[in-house]
């Protein structure tokens, strides 16, 4: 079994600031998270693979807030760095670093899904 990625922290308690003791609301928020974030991560991966800095900045920008809201501070911080570099200099991170971030985000979504305790179709998106 592979070791979990180092930057893939997840802390459901981070949502308690907003949801308080309302377990149903936590579930609802997590459910939206696990359906919303994977397509965002896919778009980031695509943009990184194609070296499209403007798209990279945009997707990293959106992901950093979502990740911070579930306590994924390290992944959120890396998105911030990637966004900033892409906006300021048009630079995209090296392929291996980008792959690591995308793997971490996948793992965070898995953790959220496990926390949710239910199977959710990762390909279903909500808009």
């Amino acid at each position: 079994m592979n070791a979990p990625p180092t930057g893939a922290s997840f802390c459901a308690a981070a949502m308690r600031d907003i949801a308080g003791d309302d377990d149903a609301l936590v579930r609802e928020l997590l459910d939206i998270f696990v359906r919303t974030v994977p397509p965002m991560a896919q778009r980031l991966a695509h943009a990184l693979a194609r070296g499209r800095a403007a798209h990279v900045a945009r997707e990293a920008h959106d992901l950093k807030s979502c990740l911070a809201l579930v306590g994924a501070a390290e992944a959120s911080a890396r998105c911030t760095q990637i966004e900033s570099a892409a906006r300021r200099t048009g630079a995209c991170p090296p392929v291996d670093e980008a792959a690591r971030l995308c793997a971490d985000i996948d793992h965070i979504v898995d953790l959220a899904r496990r926390h949710l305790g239910c199977v959710t179709d990762p390909h279903e998106t909500i808009r």
Partner: protein, 418 residues
Amino acid sequence: MTSPELPPFPALARLRVLLLEDNPFERRMVTALLERLGVGHVEQAGSGGAALALIDAAPAPFDVVLCDLQIHGRADLDGIEFLRLAGDRLACPLILMSGIDEDLAIAAESLAVAGGAAWAGRLRKPVIPAELHALLVTCTARRTDTTAPAHARADGARPAACAADLRAAIARREFVAWFQPQRCLATGRLFGVEVLARWQHPRDGIVGPAEFVPLMEREGMVDALFDVILERALDAMAVWAARGVRVPVSINASPLTLENVEVPNLWRARVEARGIDPSQITIEVTETAVARNFNGLLESVTRLRMHGFRVALDDFGTSYSSLQQMSELPATEVKIDRSFLDRALRYPRARVIFESIVTLGRDLGLAVVAEGVETHAQNDFARAMGCDAAQGLLHGHPVPPQMLALDLDVRPAAHPIP
């Protein structure tokens, strides 16, 4: 349910909030947070178009709009487009939510304010409950302040004045001069007063300049308004002089008025006929970009200085040609526009700009006045940056001449007058 760490604020239950956020997860999070803070009514939109539709369909105006700036749907409006299109329909406090870079955030704020929005603040994403709570409480207070303006008629808003109304008001001498103090930041003593035009409307009471100056500019009545206000200011100066007090007075002059190269001699004659030294009067010049004849403006300003008047560059930094004004007009004073001070305490980038303007003014030997000083923090900042004087509600509201405190001690604003 209210978050235990945040004090309950019952007035939030009466707020109607519109939330524009395209990301479903963040939209639900912020909605949940608003509900948890006790906000009574939340409408949410995932696109600018949907938000516009909600504004148009709402049975009552929203009290606060929370708007994300980065909205990505290709076919949809981004946050800035939404603000522009919403325009006057957003006559309520606006809170921008964004994690974008500071330079973009400052530009977005400027655009929102220029579009008519009432700026309430910016929240970095992800939104922190305490910060949102604090801004909403502020918005609630503003809502209370603005529900019954002192000059409003009982049956609703005052109808807009037309040009004929304003001409008649000039003829009836209904325009009066109010005065707002400026204080020396080093000593707290009176630095001077700015004279501000008010319309003493026979039915509606005191009317502020925003309701008549733009129309007067369009209709070519600003010269007549200047004449009336100068006369009123000279009357007040004569009264103060009789009491042994010499108070420097600043008066706004339109660049269009100053294009007339006859005005320096006319004004000198009028001032000296009242036994007043022109050096006691500062002519405040703003937005020279609107001048059709810059050489005429330059000649007038130069000759005013030669006659002994002082000249201030008003609202400095807001004009497209601020640096040109500073380099070409022989001014004695620069008044830094209030927007720079407001932002300098919130954004490091704006602080650098404020500090640079102060340095530029001082290096050119100009007196530097900070406009829009409303808090002790702003006052302390302006002093620390090296401003010579400050003007704003902290130092006194505009008041009629008989209510102006001419003592030389620092006196906090005590008479909030609309």
